[in-house]
Symmetry: C2
Subunit: 542 residues, 2 copies
């Protein structure tokens, strides 16, 4: 906690200050836009960007994570709260903050129970598919503000402004850095300008709306943004606690997943160490702070953290500076914030989530493992078809399903002796000699409940194929653990072989596995021996 | 399908006939009792024991499985349907049958989609805890009929009859076989008599009630049992389809789990082969048949199948004979079935589920793996506290949680050279030599999304502990698979080491893993080499 502050050196300050300023400039339109995605007044997006990152700076462990509103979590908030209260109502705001409290509580509890390993419940392809599906849903939801009306109708001036902004932003993303460098700007500055393009486009849009009087022509703007810091919010709906438990679990899980994947990829770049249990506490506390600010669930954002990182952030002080600047912006006159044109904000959201349409994972998975590629599609389709909330459960089910499905097809090799040597190899890959009375099987997987049945079946199949075998040797060189379920399966196999007069032997058992087996009855009951190597087993069992 | 019939030999007939008769005698009180557990008229329990086992005999693959009513599935039926309809109402019966249809449909669908591997979603300790928790809940629910009134009150004659029956049944279970053998009966006969004890106790109770006129004193009996075969039932409640989907999934899952664990343990005894996808179809069809019979969800039962097996069943013909005998019992006068005393039936249920209180798994797990023992307790507590329906989800979460938690702590060994040899071993277990410039790590787990983060972190930790290392060799002798998530983690590790000027090498990569890696970019981008053995790597990287 605050270790970074105790070791703070002055040399780190310039980087933190520049990152603090850049992220603050990015945060104003982004925070407001993500508040709109969550179905809330734009100013709550800025509220969510002040206290939560400060609290995260105290409890979190990532040096460059930027905590605040994030597209997918805002989408989930809208999906969940939208079922419980009418959009725009006071209850809606209360429930959004309450959802942050429940999610934060879940995260804190998981952190105290040291459940950080839960971040491993999503496979990478499933997470990628989930992200892409969410991006499509979010972009789809922004078409109406972008065009000023529902499809297929549109409102001319709004659509022109919105689509023009999309075009500008896409061009900025693809060409601005190159252009600026060609004009003599240095690479880091050019890249920073590109990152801030959304802010420039929003300001440009604002000026355009004012200059051309587009508001009078029906282009919507954000509307009055109250001045001043967020008030302490303690409003809660006592009727809704129970209804918020399950959504709070899901939102907490997603907050953790998204934040960890962002923090990990950044930590790797600087060889920093993350402590997942501390991260849970940091994110939990940040969400409680968001509730107290009257905002909505927040998390670490990949795209914003990458900007923070690229702009030179060295410690969480950068986030504290961002928060201070945003607080100052709220204390200053906020009249101009009321004039931000909605189609332009929608354009920034759409272009931002287009950046989440990452197909590299799919491409790699398609070449490397077709099953993972299918899981990617199923996960994305789950979000699009069933919604983001059910999509999380679909994702967990797919990750676990892939895992169990793979486990149910363990690799087991029949071994034979390489002629004239002490070495035994897979007879399918090497020309190796076997004896009909001895069947040597190498089990290439840790034994656990997910595969013990399949291993048992495979052994029976091999025994059927080797009817003369009097001895079965299981070569355990690749087995690093055997759980209780697999221990029972081995005992049953032993009893069954015993009845049939076939010896069951183990060879090349690893130290930790052997230590564990000594605490069971298996070795005692074993209808055979434990050999140091398959070579010795083969010689002794002549 | 029906392969057993095509190869039927006359020699198998005596076993099948004797098993058919024994199970039929067992089925009458048991079927009626489990119908009561499900909250349904007793006769439906017999209906559930006629058509479903015949249909299973056609589609299933187990030779000795006995499909019909089963305590846990009946308990789930009561828990689910009890929330939707008042007990004893017509709607209740309709929904119970409809639940069988939905569960059957789920099972059929899973079978056609070849999802038989789903049986591996429960670890053995979790399944055992779930079973024990369910047994306690079922026994608790039978206290009222056993004592004739709610605790702490009781109805004297009922309680005397009920507790007396419990005592008799417990004594029969523990001593009858021994006693009969002492009287000169042969072992198999004595065991069979013990298995049939519940039926003798029920008949004895019936006679006692009649002889002493206990019915007039308030002892409840089953009441009129309609004569004749079940009518074709097509009644459904169109309003409840949606509400039945999720429960149907859970019930289908539990049906499959229970039936598979029974069938597997029997198949192992005779070295028979089960096809889990065919089992899904067999159980699904049996449940559709149960719906058409106007009954409720059915499954294979461990205890009944063990009787079937012990009584000599060779093929599913035994179950067909049982079904035929039960059908004959329904066509014959059924007046006497109305007189079965409820306290005695409750006693048979209680003693039957006491047999499910199997603590051997817990005992083994406690010694062998404390985490598995905790999962046992949590699973049992989940059923008792949250109910059997939520208990299934708790069980899945616990199994998966244990799996991911274990995966998050992979075993990784630092290797050193055994002086003067070509062998490298874990330096914590052997006195082996290392060089500061070379760090050799053996990864003792398949790499997948559940552990790739932890492996990455562990490697970084080791590198921090070996600051002079210029080359890192990952010894992959125990790695049999690398999924897409882990492939990305390895690529990121490679990039990170590349930036730091540390070489990343692989050694002893298995054939199938290498084949797979060749389809990725990793080998191409690798900041190092792939060596046949760590010995070669060590010599080349001097």
């Amino acid at each position: 906690m605050l270790a970074w502050l105790k070791n703070y050196r002055r040399a780190l300050l310039p980087g933190d200050i520049s990152a603090g300023i850049v992220v603050a400039m990015m945060m104003i339109p982004q925070g407001m836009a993500y508040a709109l995605v969550a179905g809330l007044p734009p100013v709550t997006g800025i509220y969510a960007s002040i206290l939560p990152p400060i609290v995260y700076a105290i409890f979190g462990t990532s040096m460059t994570q930027s905590v605040g509103p994030m597209a997918i979590v805002s989408l989930m908030t809208a999906a969940i709260v939208g079922q419980m209260a009418p959009a725009g109502s006071g209850l809606y705001s209360v429930l959004a903050a309450q959802l942050a409290l429940v999610s934060g509580g879940v995260l804190l509890l998981c952190g105290l129970l040291r459940l950080g390993f839960l971040a491993n419940f999503f496979s990478r392809p499933v997470m990628s598919g989930f992200t892409v599906g969410s991006a499509l849903v979010i972009a789809g939801g922004q078409l109406k503000p972008l065009l000023g009306a529902d499809l297929p109708h549109w409102h001319g001036p709004s659509a022109a402004l919105g689509l023009g902004s999309v075009l500008l932003l896409v061009l900025a993303r693809s060409h601005l850095a190159h252009l600026l460098r060609a004009c003599g700007m240095k690479a880091p500055g050019a890249e920073m300008a590109t990152r801030l393009a959304p802010m420039f486009v929003v300001v440009f849009g604002l000026l355009l709306v004012q200059a051309l009087g587009l508001e009078a022509m029906g282009v919507q703007t954000t509307g009055k943004v109250p001045s001043g810091l967020p008030q302490l919010n303690l409003a809660m709906s006592s009727r809704h606690w129970q209804q918020l438990v399950q959504p709070g679990l899901l939102v907490g899980f997603v907050i953790f997943l998204i934040s960890m994947s962002a923090a990990q990829s950044l930590a790797l770049k600087r060889n920093e160490k993350l402590a997942s249990n501390h991260e849970l506490v940091g994110l939990g506390a940040a969400n409680v702070a968001s509730m107290l600010s009257g905002a909505f669930p927040v998390t670490g954002s990949m795209s914003r953290s990458a900007v923070n990182f690229a702009a030179g952030a060295q410690t969480p002080l950068a986030s504290v500076i961002t928060a201070a600047l945003l607080a100052m912006a709220l204390v200053a006159p906020t009249g101009w914030l009321a004039l931000l044109p909605m189609p332009v904000l929608a354009a920034t959201i759409i272009v931002a989530v287009l950046g989440m349409l990452e197909l590299d994972t799919l491409r790699t998975a398609w070449r490397y493992d077709r099953g993972d590629a299918l899981a990617w599609f199923a996960s994305g389709a789950g979000v699009v078809v069933l919604g983001v909330e059910a999509g999380v459960l679909v994702g967990v089910a797919l990750s676990m399903g892939t895992l169990i499905w793979r486990a149910s097809r363990p690799h087991i090799a029949v071994l034979g002796r390489i002629p004239g040597s002490e070495h035994f190899r897979n007879i399918e890959r090497y020309s190796a000699d076997t004896r009909p009375e001895l069947l040597a099987l190498r089990i290439d997987a840790n034994l656990f409940f997910g595969n013990s049945e399949a291993v048992q079946q495979r052994i029976e199949d091999e025994l059927r194929g080797h009817p003369q075998a009097r001895n079965l040797v299981l070569v355990m060189s690749a087995v690093s653990s055997i759980d209780t379920s697999a221990l029972f399966a081995l005992s049953e196999l032993n009893q069954s072989l015993c009845r049939r007069g076939i010896g069951l032997h183990l060879a090349e058992v690893k130290g930790p596995v052997m230590d564990r087996l000594r605490q069971s009855d298996l070795l005692h009951a074993l209808n055979g021996e434990v050999f140091l190597s398959i070579d010795i087993a083969d010689k002794k069992l002549q």
